[in-house]
Symmetry: C2
Subunit: 165 residues, 2 copies
DNA sequence: TGTGAAAATTGTAACAT
DNA sequence: ATGTTACAATTTTCACA
């Protein structure tokens, strides 16, 4: 009987070998890749590959696989970054505002940051009017919001990510 | 499998009905959901569902499905936004720099923006030293980069996205 | 178009190395 | 811990309402 079995670990550190990295890289490119294709690319047997994938998921390394949609095809060709600066910083209220911002249609990502600003919103909207409406009707209406500043986004590119190599 | 139709469609506008939206919403949550489960959730037959998914992909609405990894589990618990301001803006050089920045390990997203800054980098690194090294060795070394400013990211949350409802 | 039942592919589990 | 085989589940294809 081999030794220890990893328990359902929290998302802390994990020891990854080359096979794991190959699997993660492949799934980052195409999350619907079949297990057989994955195995071939990683150079292991299919059963091994399936086992690794499940282990990576249970270890919290592989958190989700999501579809990515085209903002343009969905009628939201205009991207912007909205910097939000707050006046008060009561913990409860900040969290509440956070929730509201994330739920707004057109909001892709919300960064809660420290420094000059408090929130950075990456949004995709139909056009300038929609952007103005979004800001005026859903952001600056909140009493906590002291100031916003909007930057036009020319282009967004996903980095190669977290994996070494 | 032969008969490809005329063209791979452009990412322009698309007319989406409730079924499409249901499919997209489901795949945005779980991109590996089985076609059978999708069909049940959308309220259509499995074959219909598969057809819709393929159509959405060919229409450029569904651009990709990617695995999401845990930066923490991969040893990169520190997130930051690096604002990059350039001195010169020669088109060629800007593009070249863009390419370099996107390829850096730890760089999750690069926003090319207009306004006060030129690039916004969302990065995930192992710790403060790694952040400093990343900035000094890979960002500010470029002659074009006039100034950087770094904001600590407390938390990142994905918005509900692009779909109405 | 959308549906339902076939074949073909894929994922899963048990077993052997 | 990896590889192989057999079996179940799923996707895909095609004829039809």
């Amino acid at each position: 009987m081999a030794g220890e079995r990893p328990k359902k670990t929290q998302p802390h550190q994990a020891a990854l070998d080359g096979t794991d990295l190959a699997i993660l890289a492949a799934l980052t490119e195409d999350g619907r890749m079949t297990n057989a294709a994955l195995a071939a690319r990683a150079g292991v047997a299919e059963s091994t590959c399936a086992y690794r994938v499940r282990a990576l998921r249970e270890a919290g390394v592989l958190t989700a696989v999501r579809a990515h949609l085209s903002p343009e095809a969905l009628g939201r060709p205009l991207h912007a970054i909205i910097k939000v600066r707050l006046g008060s910083h009561s913990r409860e209220l900040v969290h509440h505002l956070y929730d509201r911002l994330v739920a707004l249609p057109g909001v892709l990502t919300v960064f809660h940051v420290g420094g000059d600003d408090d929130f950075l919103l990456h949004v995709a909207v139909a056009g300038p009017e929609a952007l103005r409406d979004l800001i005026l009707e859903h952001v600056t209406v909140h009493p906590m919001v002291r100031q916003t500043e909007t930057q036009l986004v020319f282009e967004v590119r996903e980095g190669r990510g977290l994996l070494p190599g």
